[in-house]
């Protein structure tokens, strides 16, 4: 058995390798309905009643965890949180042992975040149940990319032929990688942009992906511009000459956005460093869809849960 079941419905969401474009579109269509559910007086449907979803976060992330927990609860699943710090992982238990222990509780799905690339794949191997990757190392963060795609689609109706510029620390970003994998599958063109030290050449090999170091060139004609979080500790890694240099060249601000399409929207996966990778006025401005991304994220994750947990086909 491969990860793709009969009828091509993948069992897990680890990255987008097994996901055909039609499946991805169906997932985004489902999010429309979920957003509608979230607009009702009763923001909850009984679809996943009786199922238990485990969030296993071996790396801190308040936002993503809240989003997944709410998504599962709004679908009427029970949610159990397994926080790594408070568990025996800190006592040296291996990830495999942890997962095998959790399976004894008969969970129905796992949502996994881990600092090691490939951790979600490992959990998928031992859990016997659907696994959603909520971020593994630098590798992938598929639900973030899905909510980005959804937010762009919401704006333009379709991703076909849309240009998306992703600017910043691409090297350390699983968000950039997942978007580079997803958006071209849906017909968009992706430009990854950052200082050469933070722009891994191999990503340029991906279909539909271009690497550019000049941000003005990168945003030219873009329909959506995404600023990536710049981790301050990168300074110590010798990746950047100075923070001021970075801000001067790569900050997503009004001056840079003048090169983009009229009406281009601005995205950020959060949490933001205001006035570092993105200017405060852009973050709060008319183009910003940053808060929309948050509410869309919940709807997209509800749709992902539905797609992975309902039906045996």
């Amino acid at each position: 058995m491969t990860a793709a079941g009969i009828g091509g419905r993948p069992r897990h969401l680890l990255d987008f390798q097994d996901w055909a474009p039609e499946r991805l579109s169906a997932l985004l269509d489902g999010a429309d309905t979920m957003l509608n559910v979230l607009s009702r007086p009763v923001k909850k449907v009984p679809a996943l009643q009786g199922l238990t979803v485990c969030t296993a976060f071996f790396e801190n992330s308040t936002r993503t965890k809240v989003s997944f927990e709410l998504a599962a609860r709004r679908m009427s699943a029970d949610v159990v949180s397994f926080a790594a710090g408070a568990s025996s992982v800190s006592k040296g238990e291996s990830l495999r042992d942890t997962v095998e222990t959790l399976t004894a509780y008969q969970m129905d799905a796992y949502i996994v975040r881990h600092s090691a690339s490939g951790a979600a794949h490992l959990v998928a191997r031992y859990s016997g149940k659907p696994v959603i990757n909520a971020g593994d190392g630098r590798r992938a963060h598929p639900t973030q990319a899905l909510l980005d795609a959804y937010t762009i689609r919401q704006e333009y109706g379709d991703l076909k032929g849309k240009k998306v510029a992703i600017i910043g620390d691409v090297l350390h970003s699983r968000v950039a990688r997942s978007n580079a994998e997803l958006l071209p599958k849906l017909g968009a063109e992706v430009t990854l942009c950052g200082p050469a030290t933070l722009l891994p050449l191999e990503l340029g090999q991906m279909p539909g992906v271009t690497l550019i170091t000049d941000p003005r060139e990168a945003v030219r004609g873009a329909h959506a511009v995404m600023a990536l979080r710049l981790q301050q500790e990168r300074m110590q890694g010798g990746y950047l000459a100075s923070m001021q240099d970075y801000v001067n060249t790569y900050q997503v601000n009004e001056a840079l956005l003048a090169e983009a399409e009229d009406g281009a929207i601005v995205l950020h996966p959060g949490p933001m460093n205001r006035d570092l990778e993105i200017s405060g006025d852009v973050a709060d401005g008319e183009r910003s869809r940053i808060l929309k991304q948050v509410s869309n994220g919940q709807a997209v994750r509800m749709s992902v849960l539905y797609h992975l947990l309902v039906g045996r086909d």
Binding site: K44, A47, V310, G311
Partner: protein
């Protein structure tokens, strides 16, 4: 060469479907003393065009524009944990406030009553109507829940394993209600039982 499968009986032709819907519209007006304060909500798939037809009739007879909406009950089904094939979620659109309105829920076939149960739960999560009534084109019996329709186009006694197939102009290019033997229909549409219950206007 396999011969083209035939329905066992044509229960309603296009004229009879039209008359049944007209009669239901009259009954709705009679029972509600007009059409003020009503709303029509069609259940996916074929309840939606039927709701639109009733709205047009009510407007013609009473001069009242009754708001219409659509309801997809997938997320409220009681068998989601058992279904083999994943149902596609479709749009629910209720672009008006349900409070202070009497809602007439519209579906093509009333069978087990489970779809209606799900629809009632969904409606109540969307808002709090002052009342809910149920209109169906065909009531084929075999209820599994204590649910009955307020307006019925045609009461049709059926065997459990027969299939009632509703076709509508808007979704199928023609108006009719047919009774099929399950095996004959399986041959014609080439689908398994479960997927057909999804798509062929069979109702539940």
């Amino acid at each position: 060469m396999p011969e083209t499968a035939q329905p066992k009986a044509v229960i309603l032709d296009s004229h009879e479907v039209r008359r049944a819907m007209t009669r239901i519209a009259h009954e709705i007006i009679e029972r509600n003393k007009g059409a003020e304060g009503l709303a029509l909500i069609g259940v996916h798939t074929r309840g939606i065009p039927l709701a639109a037809r009733l709205a047009a009739k009510l407007s013609e007879l009473e001069g009242v524009d009754v708001p219409t909406g659509s309801l997809d009950i997938t997320l409220y089904r009681d068998d989601l944990s058992e279904v083999a094939r994943q149902p596609i979620i479709r749009e629910t659109e209720v672009p008006f406030d349900l409070a202070q309105r009497r809602v007439i829920l519209v579906d093509d076939v009333l069978f087990t009553g489970r779809t209606v149960r799900a629809a009632l739960d969904a409606l109540i999560d969307i808002g709090r109507p002052t009342g809910i009534q149920l209109a169906v084109l065909v009531d084929r019996g075999h209820r599994e829940l204590p649910i009955r329709a307020d307006y019925v186009g045609k009461n049709l006694p059926t065997a459990q394993d027969e299939v009632v197939k509703v076709k509508l102009q808007e979704t199928d290019g023609t108006d009719s209600v047919e009774l099929w033997d399950r095996p004959a229909l399986d041959r014609e549409v080439g689908m398994d039982r479960e997927s057909r219950a999804e798509g062929a206007g069979e109702g539940a």
